[in-house]
Symmetry: C2
Subunit: 377 residues, 2 copies
């Protein structure tokens, strides 16, 4: 991981972007696949579909399809069907996966079929999981259309659905054939969704790349105005970090777990507010603040770095109001998090900007205090 | 594969059984696990549970639990919970998997949990699939209690559930930590279920082991009276064959497919009769007859061997009545089989006793004729 904090001057961005719109590779014991980042990259989908593939099932949401569907469909170059997922966290359930599977069979889906998942993080999770279990597994190509899905959900092979009692509690590791990231589609993304994705990028900065963090910290205006050089740079850096972490630890038994920075607290907030008030990225933003406060209380993190992280997160705020959320209930929910192992909660806490530590060794009263302070700040 | 047809004299069985109650090993690129066959082997479950495992979830059906549950539970030696699956093909659906998953979370299930699947083939398929997707995968120990599950379903890592439009259309390959086969539990198995399992053993003989076939052909009386030497022998041979085939081809892309002998026709019959008239093994028995007849029509199989196969299957009959089943509808259903690849149906057809061939190159009128004749014989 890079560690030289201020090496990249703003003037370098344009050059950098013009010269190298790159592909990254995820490499696991069982497979190797490209994650391409390219403006207009949608048009290259055909090259990733195996020549001998049977029917291609494009799975999308109606809103995404209306904006970009035609552009994608005309490049498939294969017999294909379009299936719609209704979208929304409450629909991210097994029943919807079953409905899509029944539709696939009815339209001639078989073991030679390929799924193209085209949408935000919920869609790529659901369609990826469908691919993982349809006839015990068929290939999927992920084309994420939200910033959050581009820098996080669609890279790394995690797929899944929610249970009534918690998020992403059922799922599979199912690596895609390829991930196609086209930053151009973000220009039609609602601003709130765009901001939600920015928080995952800040996360990548905090856990593994101080340069990226300082870029986000320095450039909120250009980021928010979709300046292509900054946007492409922050996506590429995020994808590189995610691809590196996944390649070293596909099943999240070791270093990949640092990607959960902000997620333990964030999931509890999402669950407590019924998955309806916060976008995932917003909940993670709040969770990062709580984890940062906890890290400082545990004396892992300097108060200067704590201040920088909170300031950076807040500069992309505001988050939805947390008034009425009971800190004690958030604390109780932490214990049912998926990452809990035999009752122990493992926290990802920052040690400095660019480096985090995983620990279950925290003071319970600090956890409660961090939740309370994060709800207030 | 062995090829010497009559080498094993009946007198050898007892010796063989006394000397070597063996473990077989399944070896895939990702793992290696034992399949132990032992009378009273239930009592050894503890040795297969990882020392650092969290809670153990015993998943079973009420009938199996009533007969053998206590014997198992007292040997677990780990904190455990018991969850019941209602059982039956119509309940082999995603909704039941979801219910079990919710119960697991409510009772403290997490990523360190281990599932012990204790029941027949439907149970081992469902509980195995639950293990495959619970928090993206936890370990499972399979303890099959029907003959069919012992010689087929529980070995090889195939797990899954049905869709309304077809059997086992959703699932995962999820290899267990271990498979424990205790032939003693078969003594409480209803005769019809026992016979259904015998057909899968005959299948193993036809596809890969003429000795096993002739044993089954010669000894229906001793098989039906549960003579331990014959029972243990036929189970061991079946497990050995299945373990060999799975080890060479975990994902069923090549040689493992010969295990589907009788299944293409059998699945169509099951679907056509609403999964309510035939046990899976019975449908496979009928399917083997259809495939044998088709093999003879296609001149792959001698009429003598055809006669031997039909005679052997029928000696463990009779099957439930097929009166009223429309041959044309069976033929139509073949086309929606999971093994269909781009509309082509791949049949596993016998070439001689102990050897089969996979082919999509058959005459459509022979398929229709084989269905009709099998419905009549």
């Amino acid at each position: 991981m890079r560690w030289n904090l201020h090496s990249t001057a703003a003037s370098q961005f344009t050059t950098w972007y013009n010269d190298c719109m790159p592909s990254y590779f995820v490499e696991t014991p069982a497979c190797r696949y490209p994650v391409s980042v390219e403006r207009g990259g949608l048009a290259n989908v055909r090259q990733y579909i195996p020549e001998r593939a049977g029917k291609v099932f494009l799975i999308s949401t109606e809103d995404v399809w209306q904006l970009h569907g035609e552009a994608l469909a005309r490049e498939i170059g294969h017999p294909h069907e379009i299936l719609f997922f209704p979208g929304g966290e409450p629909r991210k359930r097994l029943a919807e996966v079953e409905t899509l599977a029944e539709q696939m069979v009815a339209r001639g889906g078989d073991r030679s079929s390929v799924i193209v998942a085209f949408g935000g993080g919920i869609l790529t999770d659901v369609a990826g999981f469908l691919a993982a279990i349809f006839m015990r597994g068929i290939p999927v190509i992920q084309i994420p259309t939200t910033l959050l899905a581009q820098v996080d959900a669609a890279v790394g092979g995690k797929t899944g659905v929610n249970l009534a009692c918690g998020k992403n509690l059922l799922g599979s590791f199912h690596q895609p054939l390829a991930v196609i990231i086209d930053p151009a589609v973000l220009d039609t993304l609602p601003e709130r969704e765009y901001r939600a994705g920015l928080f995952e990028i800040i996360k990548h900065g905090v856990i593994a790349d101080a340069d990226l963090f300082w870029l986000m910290s320095r450039e909120p205006k250009r980021v928010m105005s979709h300046a292509p050089d900054v946007v492409d740079r922050m996506i590429c850096d995020s994808v590189r970090i995610k691809a590196e972490l996944v390649s070293g630890d596909e099943k999240e038994q070791d270093r990949r777990r640092i990607l959960n920075f902000g997620h333990t607290f964030g999931h509890a907030l999402e669950a407590e507010t019924g998955y309806s008030q916060f976008l995932h990225g917003e909940a993670v933003a709040w969770g990062m603040k709580a984890a940062t406060l906890l890290g400082a209380m545990e004396r892992l993190l300097s108060s200067e770095d704590k201040g920088e992280i909170l300031r950076c997160v807040n500069s992309y705020g505001p988050l939805p109001p947390v008034a009425g959320v009971d800190p004690a209930r958030i604390a109780a929910r932490l214990k049912s998090d998926k990452k809990t192992v035999q009752g122990k909660i493992h926290f990802v806490l920052p040690e400095r900007i660019g480096a985090v530590k995983i620990t279950a060794d925290v003071h319970e009263q600090f956890v409660a205090a961090a939740i309370e302070e994060a709800l207030a700040c």
